[in-house]
């Protein structure tokens, strides 16, 4: 006897023995449950997780001074923690940013839309630093306290220029 399981919307089915006592069976069951949990995650949650995985990679790549080939400071655990908070604070409807470490050891999030629109967000200490170029002479930049939520000015920029189609 086996259990057949259909994943909603995907057209895929999984099946495995209802009562599996062997180690292999338990292992397969655990793996399938993990896959199911991942498939059921909302898409927005997935991109946040992907960005956080990238942050982990960045910590590994940039843990030593001079990681940029010059004299960049190591990316600290604190920088990564605030970058994770920043990712959590992003609204749902925006395009997925790039995670970019900076020579100061801070980690920024960047959005680029062609050769004209470029926006960057970095948490520096307790300050949220933002800067953007939006074609021609249109530039906006500033610094605000970061308490885990994005300021209105930043939300407006993201909504205006970097919304998912």
């Amino acid at each position: 006897m086996s259990i057949r399981l259909a994943i909603a919307g995907s057209g895929q089915t999984f099946s495995w023995p209802e009562i599996g006592l062997s180690d292999e069976s338990k292992h397969i069951r655990a793996r399938l449950l993990k896959i199911l949990a991942e498939v059921r995650q909302p898409i927005s949650f997935s991109w946040r997780e992907t960005l956080k995985d990238e942050l982990d990679e960045i910590v590994r790549e940039c843990s030593e001074a001079g990681w940029d080939g010059y004299d960049a400071e190591p990316v600290s655990v604190e920088s990564v923690t605030v970058a994770q908070q920043l990712i959590d604070a992003l609204p749902e409807h925006i395009t997925v940013p790039n995670v970019v470490p900076e020579p100061s050891g801070e980690v920024g999030l960047e959005w680029r839309n062609g050769a004209q629109k470029y926006f960057s967000l970095t948490v520096s200490g307790t300050e949220l630093v933002y800067a953007g170029i939006f074609g021609g002479f249109c530039k906006r930049y500033g610094e605000e306290r970061f308490f885990g939520a994005l300021p209105t000015a930043v939300l407006q920029i993201l909504s205006q220029y970097f919304t998912e189609a």
Partner: protein, 150 residues
């Protein structure tokens, strides 16, 4: 080529390249090259602003004045005078070329600092303010052309 002949060849090449002479003052139409070592700074075929941001210790951005240099010579400069001076074995992945006028247009300066090579220079006069630094680095990144080291 054996180890010693190769080392001698590189040494000879670096001596030869150091004979290069450029004007002390950087003019507004010169090509300026920033060698890039970190792959996330060129992700998606685009140069990131972080590649141009100044170092916190020196407060400037190290570049080379590559106007009039052949492609081969530019990469040799990167190899012999940037990459080889490092001890961690990192290799130059790419470079971002920008015209000096673009740098001057951001109220930044390019000062010739002929060590380790006569063509070496630094982009300086960066503001202390981080948002303003970012805006200027972004403007350079948007105007820069990416060349991969193949």
């Amino acid at each position: 080529m054996g180890l010693y002949p190769r080392q001698f060849y590189r040494y000879f090449l670096s001596i030869l390249l150091k004979l290069d002479r450029v004007p002390a003052v950087v003019s507004s139409g010169e090509r300026i090259s920033r060698f890039i070592f970190y792959q996330r700074h060129i992700k998606g075929g685009e140069i990131r602003a972080a590649a141009f941001l100044p170092s916190r210790t020196s407060e400037d951005t190290s570049v080379y004045r590559t106007d009039g240099c052949s492609e081969k010579k530019v990469w040799l400069l990167g190899n012999l005078f940037v990459e080889r001076l490092r001890r961690d074995g990192r290799t130059v992945l790419a470079r971002g070329d920008v015209i000096s006028g673009t740098v001057f247009g951001q109220d930044l300066k390019i000062i010739s600092t002929p060590r380790p090579h006569p063509r070496h220079a630094v982009i300086c006069n960066w503001p202390d303010d981080k948002p303003q630094q970012l805006i200027k680095a972004m403007a350079l990144a948007l105007k820069a052309t990416l060349h991969l080291n193949q």
